[in-house]
Protein backbone atom coordinates (compact mmCIF):
# COMPACT_ATOMS: atom_id res chain seq x y z
CA UNK A 1 0.00 0.00 0.00
CA UNK A 2 1.28 3.45 -0.85
CA UNK A 3 0.08 7.03 -0.61
CA UNK A 4 -1.79 6.81 -3.90
CA UNK A 5 -3.69 3.71 -2.74
CA UNK A 6 -4.66 5.47 0.46
CA UNK A 7 -5.75 8.58 -1.45
CA UNK A 8 -7.80 6.45 -3.87
CA UNK A 9 -9.47 4.53 -1.07
CA UNK A 10 -11.05 7.78 0.10
CA UNK A 11 -13.59 6.97 -2.62
CA UNK A 12 -15.17 4.54 -0.14
CA UNK A 13 -15.84 7.20 2.46
CA UNK A 14 -19.47 7.30 3.61
CA UNK A 15 -21.86 9.49 1.68
CA UNK A 16 -22.95 11.11 4.93
CA UNK A 17 -19.40 12.34 5.51
CA UNK A 18 -19.07 13.57 1.93
CA UNK A 19 -22.37 15.38 2.20
CA UNK A 20 -21.27 16.93 5.48
CA UNK A 21 -17.98 18.11 4.03
CA UNK A 22 -19.71 19.66 1.02
CA UNK A 23 -22.63 21.42 2.64
CA UNK A 24 -21.84 21.94 6.29
CA UNK A 25 -20.15 25.06 7.51
CA UNK A 26 -18.06 25.41 10.59
CA UNK A 27 -19.67 27.92 12.85
CA UNK A 28 -17.19 29.89 14.81
CA UNK A 29 -17.85 29.58 18.48
CA UNK A 30 -18.90 32.97 19.71
CA UNK A 31 -16.29 34.08 22.17
CA UNK A 32 -17.97 35.60 25.22
CA UNK A 33 -16.91 39.18 25.83
CA UNK A 34 -15.52 38.36 29.25
CA UNK A 35 -13.29 35.66 27.72
CA UNK A 36 -11.64 38.31 25.57
CA UNK A 37 -11.18 40.90 28.32
CA UNK A 38 -10.54 38.59 31.24
CA UNK A 39 -6.79 38.13 30.64
CA UNK A 40 -6.28 41.87 30.17
CA UNK A 41 -8.24 42.63 33.34
CA UNK A 42 -6.23 40.01 35.24
CA UNK A 43 -2.96 41.55 34.06
CA UNK A 44 -4.12 45.01 35.09
CA UNK A 45 -5.09 43.75 38.54
CA UNK A 46 -1.69 42.14 38.98
CA UNK A 47 0.08 45.32 37.93
CA UNK A 48 -1.99 47.43 40.34
CA UNK A 49 -1.41 44.98 43.20
CA UNK A 50 2.31 44.93 42.47
CA UNK A 51 2.53 48.69 42.38
CA UNK A 52 0.55 48.94 45.62
CA UNK A 53 2.85 46.48 47.36
CA UNK A 54 5.93 48.29 46.11
CA UNK A 55 4.83 51.74 47.08
CA UNK A 56 2.82 51.31 50.25
CA UNK A 57 3.93 48.05 51.77
CA UNK A 58 7.62 48.41 51.09
CA UNK A 59 7.81 44.97 49.54
CA UNK A 60 9.84 46.31 46.72
CA UNK A 61 12.58 48.82 47.45
CA UNK A 62 13.88 50.29 44.20
CA UNK A 63 16.88 51.76 46.03
CA UNK A 64 17.82 48.53 47.77
CA UNK A 65 20.68 47.86 45.39
CA UNK A 66 22.20 51.29 45.82
CA UNK A 67 21.95 50.93 49.63
CA UNK A 68 24.16 47.89 49.43
CA UNK A 69 26.81 49.92 47.69
CA UNK A 70 26.88 52.73 50.24
CA UNK A 71 30.19 54.49 49.96
CA UNK A 72 32.45 55.31 52.89
CA UNK A 73 31.68 58.99 52.48
CA UNK A 74 27.97 58.27 52.77
CA UNK A 75 28.56 56.21 55.91
CA UNK A 76 30.62 59.02 57.42
CA UNK A 77 27.93 61.54 56.51
CA UNK A 78 25.23 59.38 58.08
CA UNK A 79 27.31 58.93 61.22
CA UNK A 80 27.98 62.63 61.59
CA UNK A 81 24.44 63.73 61.04
CA UNK A 82 22.61 60.99 62.82
CA UNK A 83 21.17 62.62 65.91
CA UNK A 84 22.65 61.11 69.04
CA UNK A 85 20.72 60.61 72.20
CA UNK A 86 20.81 63.69 74.32
CA UNK A 87 22.83 63.10 77.46
CA UNK A 88 21.72 65.36 80.21
CA UNK A 89 24.57 67.19 81.84
CA UNK A 90 24.41 68.66 85.37
CA UNK A 91 23.14 72.21 85.52
CA UNK A 92 24.69 74.26 88.26
CA UNK A 93 24.01 77.65 89.66
CA UNK A 94 27.17 79.19 91.00
CA UNK A 95 28.31 82.35 92.70
CA UNK A 96 31.47 83.92 91.37
CA UNK A 97 33.95 84.36 94.16
CA UNK A 98 37.04 85.55 92.34
CA UNK A 99 38.58 85.63 88.86
CA UNK A 100 41.51 83.33 88.13
CA UNK A 101 44.01 83.32 85.27
CA UNK A 102 41.91 81.22 82.92
CA UNK A 103 38.48 81.47 84.45
CA UNK A 104 37.06 82.03 87.83
CA UNK A 105 36.52 80.42 91.16
CA UNK A 106 32.94 79.86 92.23
CA UNK A 107 30.72 78.11 94.71
CA UNK A 108 27.80 75.89 93.85
CA UNK A 109 24.58 77.32 95.25
CA UNK A 110 22.20 74.90 93.57
CA UNK A 111 22.63 71.71 91.58
CA UNK A 112 20.58 68.95 90.02
CA UNK A 113 23.39 66.45 90.53
CA UNK A 114 24.35 65.12 93.95
CA UNK A 115 27.99 64.87 92.84
CA UNK A 116 28.16 68.66 92.93
CA UNK A 117 26.61 69.58 96.26
CA UNK A 118 25.73 73.09 97.35
CA UNK A 119 28.75 74.83 98.77
CA UNK A 120 31.25 72.96 96.66
CA UNK A 121 34.00 75.27 95.47
CA UNK A 122 35.41 74.77 91.99
CA UNK A 123 37.55 76.53 89.46
CA UNK A 124 35.55 77.03 86.28
CA UNK A 125 36.68 77.23 82.70
CA UNK A 126 34.29 78.30 80.00
CA UNK A 127 34.33 75.94 77.06
CA UNK A 128 33.71 78.57 74.43
CA UNK A 129 33.54 82.31 74.36
CA UNK A 130 30.13 83.41 75.44
CA UNK A 131 28.07 85.21 72.89
CA UNK A 132 27.52 88.19 75.10
CA UNK A 133 30.36 90.74 75.23
CA UNK A 134 30.11 91.17 78.97
CA UNK A 135 31.41 87.66 79.47
CA UNK A 136 34.03 87.52 76.78
CA UNK A 137 37.48 88.05 78.05
CA UNK A 138 39.96 85.34 77.23
CA UNK A 139 37.54 82.57 77.94
CA UNK A 140 37.04 84.04 81.33
CA UNK A 141 34.43 86.26 82.79
CA UNK A 142 34.29 89.91 83.18
CA UNK A 143 31.96 89.81 86.08
CA UNK A 144 32.04 91.04 89.53
CA UNK A 145 32.44 88.66 92.38
CA UNK A 146 29.12 87.68 93.81
CA UNK A 147 27.46 87.39 90.42
CA UNK A 148 25.31 84.29 90.04
CA UNK A 149 25.64 82.26 86.85
CA UNK A 150 23.84 79.26 85.43
CA UNK A 151 26.20 76.82 83.72
CA UNK A 152 26.06 73.39 82.20
CA UNK A 153 28.84 71.12 83.30
CA UNK A 154 30.79 69.53 80.48
CA UNK A 155 33.50 67.74 82.41
CA UNK A 156 35.09 67.82 85.82
CA UNK A 157 38.65 66.93 86.76
CA UNK A 158 38.69 66.05 90.43
CA UNK A 159 42.50 66.17 90.65
CA UNK A 160 42.80 69.77 89.55
CA UNK A 161 39.28 70.61 90.74
CA UNK A 162 38.66 72.33 87.41
CA UNK A 163 35.24 72.12 85.77
CA UNK A 164 34.69 72.87 82.12
CA UNK A 165 31.29 74.46 81.73
CA UNK A 166 29.05 76.05 79.14
CA UNK A 167 27.50 79.37 80.04
CA UNK A 168 23.72 79.37 80.13
CA UNK A 169 22.74 82.62 81.77
CA UNK A 170 23.42 85.22 84.40
CA UNK A 171 21.31 86.12 87.39
CA UNK A 172 21.68 89.79 87.98
CA UNK A 173 20.74 89.51 91.62
CA UNK A 174 23.80 89.06 93.76
CA UNK A 175 23.69 86.63 96.58
Amino acid sequence: MNGYDLLKSFCYVDETLINESEFCVLRKKATPVFRRWLPIAACLCLMIAGAWAAIFEGVFDPWAASNDDTSDAEVAYDTLYTPTEAVSQPILRITVKALSDDGFIGTVISSDDAAYPVGMELEFRLEAPPSEGALSRDYGLNVDSGTQLDVELISYDSETNIARVRFLGEDSEKG
Binding site: M1, N2, G3, Y4, D5, L6, L7, K8, S9, F10, C11, Y12, V13, D14, E15, T16, L17, I18, N19, E20, S21, E22, F23, C24, V25, L26, K28
Partner: protein, 184 residues
Protein backbone atom coordinates in the same frame (compact mmCIF):
# COMPACT_ATOMS: atom_id res chain seq x y z
CA UNK B 1 -35.08 21.58 -8.30
CA UNK B 2 -34.88 19.53 -5.14
CA UNK B 3 -32.80 16.38 -5.02
CA UNK B 4 -35.88 14.23 -4.44
CA UNK B 5 -37.55 15.64 -7.55
CA UNK B 6 -34.47 14.99 -9.67
CA UNK B 7 -34.23 11.43 -8.39
CA UNK B 8 -37.91 11.01 -9.20
CA UNK B 9 -37.15 11.96 -12.80
CA UNK B 10 -34.52 9.21 -12.89
CA UNK B 11 -37.06 6.76 -11.55
CA UNK B 12 -39.49 7.84 -14.24
CA UNK B 13 -36.66 7.33 -16.73
CA UNK B 14 -37.05 10.94 -17.75
CA UNK B 15 -33.86 12.22 -19.36
CA UNK B 16 -34.56 15.69 -17.93
CA UNK B 17 -33.21 14.19 -14.75
CA UNK B 18 -29.70 14.36 -16.23
CA UNK B 19 -30.21 17.97 -17.33
CA UNK B 20 -31.42 18.93 -13.88
CA UNK B 21 -28.52 17.08 -12.31
CA UNK B 22 -26.07 19.00 -14.47
CA UNK B 23 -27.83 22.26 -13.61
CA UNK B 24 -27.68 21.52 -9.89
CA UNK B 25 -24.33 19.83 -9.48
CA UNK B 26 -22.48 19.96 -12.82
CA UNK B 27 -20.17 22.75 -11.67
CA UNK B 28 -19.21 21.05 -8.44
CA UNK B 29 -18.61 17.73 -10.16
CA UNK B 30 -16.45 19.31 -12.86
CA UNK B 31 -14.39 21.09 -10.17
CA UNK B 32 -13.91 17.81 -8.34
CA UNK B 33 -12.86 15.95 -11.49
CA UNK B 34 -10.60 18.78 -12.66
CA UNK B 35 -8.87 18.77 -9.26
CA UNK B 36 -7.92 15.15 -9.77
CA UNK B 37 -7.27 15.10 -13.50
CA UNK B 38 -6.21 18.70 -14.17
CA UNK B 39 -7.65 18.52 -17.67
CA UNK B 40 -10.87 20.14 -18.80
CA UNK B 41 -11.63 17.44 -21.38
CA UNK B 42 -10.90 14.57 -19.01
CA UNK B 43 -12.98 16.26 -16.32
CA UNK B 44 -15.92 16.65 -18.71
CA UNK B 45 -15.58 13.02 -19.79
CA UNK B 46 -15.53 12.03 -16.14
CA UNK B 47 -18.68 14.03 -15.36
CA UNK B 48 -20.48 12.57 -18.40
CA UNK B 49 -19.50 9.13 -17.19
CA UNK B 50 -20.92 10.03 -13.77
CA UNK B 51 -24.30 10.96 -15.28
CA UNK B 52 -24.30 7.71 -17.26
CA UNK B 53 -23.53 5.67 -14.12
CA UNK B 54 -26.24 7.54 -12.20
CA UNK B 55 -28.74 6.89 -15.01
CA UNK B 56 -27.76 3.22 -14.93
CA UNK B 57 -28.03 2.76 -11.15
CA UNK B 58 -31.10 4.91 -10.36
CA UNK B 59 -33.34 2.97 -10.14
CA UNK B 60 -32.95 0.66 -8.30
CA UNK B 61 -30.93 3.01 -6.09
CA UNK B 62 -32.62 5.93 -4.36
CA UNK B 63 -29.68 7.85 -2.91
CA UNK B 64 -30.19 9.63 0.37
CA UNK B 65 -27.52 12.22 -0.35
CA UNK B 66 -27.72 12.81 -4.07
CA UNK B 67 -24.65 15.04 -4.44
CA UNK B 68 -22.53 12.67 -2.34
CA UNK B 69 -23.73 9.77 -4.47
CA UNK B 70 -22.79 11.54 -7.69
CA UNK B 71 -19.50 12.83 -6.29
CA UNK B 72 -18.47 9.35 -5.25
CA UNK B 73 -19.14 8.04 -8.76
CA UNK B 74 -17.24 11.00 -10.19
CA UNK B 75 -14.24 10.43 -7.92
CA UNK B 76 -14.17 6.71 -8.75
CA UNK B 77 -14.32 7.58 -12.42
CA UNK B 78 -11.56 10.18 -12.13
CA UNK B 79 -9.26 7.79 -10.31
CA UNK B 80 -10.11 5.17 -12.95
CA UNK B 81 -8.73 7.58 -15.57
CA UNK B 82 -5.80 8.42 -13.31
CA UNK B 83 -4.97 4.73 -12.85
CA UNK B 84 -4.39 4.45 -16.57
CA UNK B 85 -1.82 7.22 -16.46
CA UNK B 86 1.71 6.63 -15.29
CA UNK B 87 2.74 8.29 -12.04
CA UNK B 88 4.88 10.75 -13.99
CA UNK B 89 1.85 12.00 -15.90
CA UNK B 90 -0.26 12.66 -12.82
CA UNK B 91 -0.74 16.28 -11.94
CA UNK B 92 1.21 18.11 -9.29
CA UNK B 93 -1.75 18.42 -6.91
CA UNK B 94 -2.33 14.68 -6.90
CA UNK B 95 1.38 14.03 -6.42
CA UNK B 96 1.37 16.41 -3.48
CA UNK B 97 -1.67 14.73 -1.94
CA UNK B 98 -0.08 11.33 -2.54
CA UNK B 99 3.10 12.42 -0.78
CA UNK B 100 1.09 13.69 2.19
CA UNK B 101 -0.80 10.42 2.36
CA UNK B 102 2.47 8.48 2.37
CA UNK B 103 3.12 10.06 5.78
CA UNK B 104 0.05 8.32 7.18
CA UNK B 105 1.12 4.82 6.21
CA UNK B 106 2.84 2.84 8.96
CA UNK B 107 6.09 1.13 7.90
CA UNK B 108 4.73 -2.36 8.36
CA UNK B 109 1.77 -1.61 6.07
CA UNK B 110 4.00 -0.38 3.26
CA UNK B 111 4.49 -3.86 1.89
CA UNK B 112 0.92 -5.00 2.47
CA UNK B 113 -1.40 -5.55 -0.44
CA UNK B 114 -4.72 -4.20 0.63
CA UNK B 115 -8.00 -3.78 -1.13
CA UNK B 116 -9.08 -0.16 -1.52
CA UNK B 117 -12.43 -1.15 -0.04
CA UNK B 118 -10.65 -2.52 3.03
CA UNK B 119 -8.69 0.68 3.51
CA UNK B 120 -11.91 2.60 2.89
CA UNK B 121 -13.56 0.85 5.82
CA UNK B 122 -10.65 1.77 8.06
CA UNK B 123 -10.83 5.36 6.86
CA UNK B 124 -14.56 5.53 7.57
CA UNK B 125 -14.08 4.28 11.10
CA UNK B 126 -11.22 6.71 11.62
CA UNK B 127 -13.16 9.69 10.24
CA UNK B 128 -16.12 8.95 12.49
CA UNK B 129 -13.80 8.90 15.50
CA UNK B 130 -12.22 12.33 15.09
CA UNK B 131 -13.66 15.79 15.87
CA UNK B 132 -15.95 17.32 13.25
CA UNK B 133 -13.66 20.25 12.47
CA UNK B 134 -10.67 17.98 11.86
CA UNK B 135 -12.84 15.67 9.75
CA UNK B 136 -14.19 18.44 7.54
CA UNK B 137 -10.75 19.91 6.92
CA UNK B 138 -9.27 16.47 6.28
CA UNK B 139 -12.00 15.54 3.79
CA UNK B 140 -11.82 18.88 1.99
CA UNK B 141 -8.12 18.26 1.49
CA UNK B 142 -7.99 14.56 0.65
CA UNK B 143 -11.45 13.83 -0.67
CA UNK B 144 -12.25 17.03 -2.56
CA UNK B 145 -8.60 17.90 -3.24
CA UNK B 146 -8.95 21.51 -2.05
CA UNK B 147 -5.79 23.52 -1.47
CA UNK B 148 -4.91 24.75 2.00
CA UNK B 149 -5.78 28.30 0.91
CA UNK B 150 -9.22 27.23 -0.32
CA UNK B 151 -9.94 25.40 2.93
CA UNK B 152 -8.83 28.41 4.96
CA UNK B 153 -11.16 30.66 2.96
CA UNK B 154 -14.03 28.20 3.18
CA UNK B 155 -13.91 27.88 6.96
CA UNK B 156 -12.61 31.36 7.81
CA UNK B 157 -9.35 30.13 9.29
CA UNK B 158 -5.74 31.01 8.84
CA UNK B 159 -3.69 28.81 6.53
CA UNK B 160 -1.37 27.91 9.36
CA UNK B 161 -4.28 26.64 11.41
CA UNK B 162 -5.45 24.49 8.50
CA UNK B 163 -1.94 23.14 8.03
CA UNK B 164 -1.55 22.31 11.69
CA UNK B 165 -4.97 20.64 11.78
CA UNK B 166 -4.07 18.54 8.74
CA UNK B 167 -0.74 17.60 10.28
CA UNK B 168 -2.39 16.56 13.51
CA UNK B 169 -5.06 14.53 11.73
CA UNK B 170 -2.43 12.78 9.60
CA UNK B 171 -0.59 11.86 12.79
CA UNK B 172 -3.84 10.53 14.24
CA UNK B 173 -4.48 8.49 11.08
CA UNK B 174 -0.97 7.06 11.23
CA UNK B 175 -1.51 6.01 14.84
CA UNK B 176 -4.93 4.63 13.97
CA UNK B 177 -3.63 2.57 11.07
CA UNK B 178 -0.77 1.27 13.22
CA UNK B 179 -3.28 0.11 15.79
CA UNK B 180 -6.11 -1.06 13.57
CA UNK B 181 -4.42 -1.69 10.27
CA UNK B 182 -4.22 -5.10 8.63
CA UNK B 183 -0.84 -6.65 9.16
CA UNK B 184 1.19 -7.73 6.15
Amino acid sequence: MEDAAIIELYWQRNEDGILETDRAYGGRLRTLARGILSSQEDAQECVSDTYWQAWRTIPPQRPRYFFAYLAKICRFSAFGILDRRTAAKRNADILSLTAEMELCIPDRMGEAVMESREIGHLLNAFLHSIPRESRLIFLRRYWHGDSVQEIAQRYGMTQSKVKSQLHRTRQMLLTYLEKEGIHP
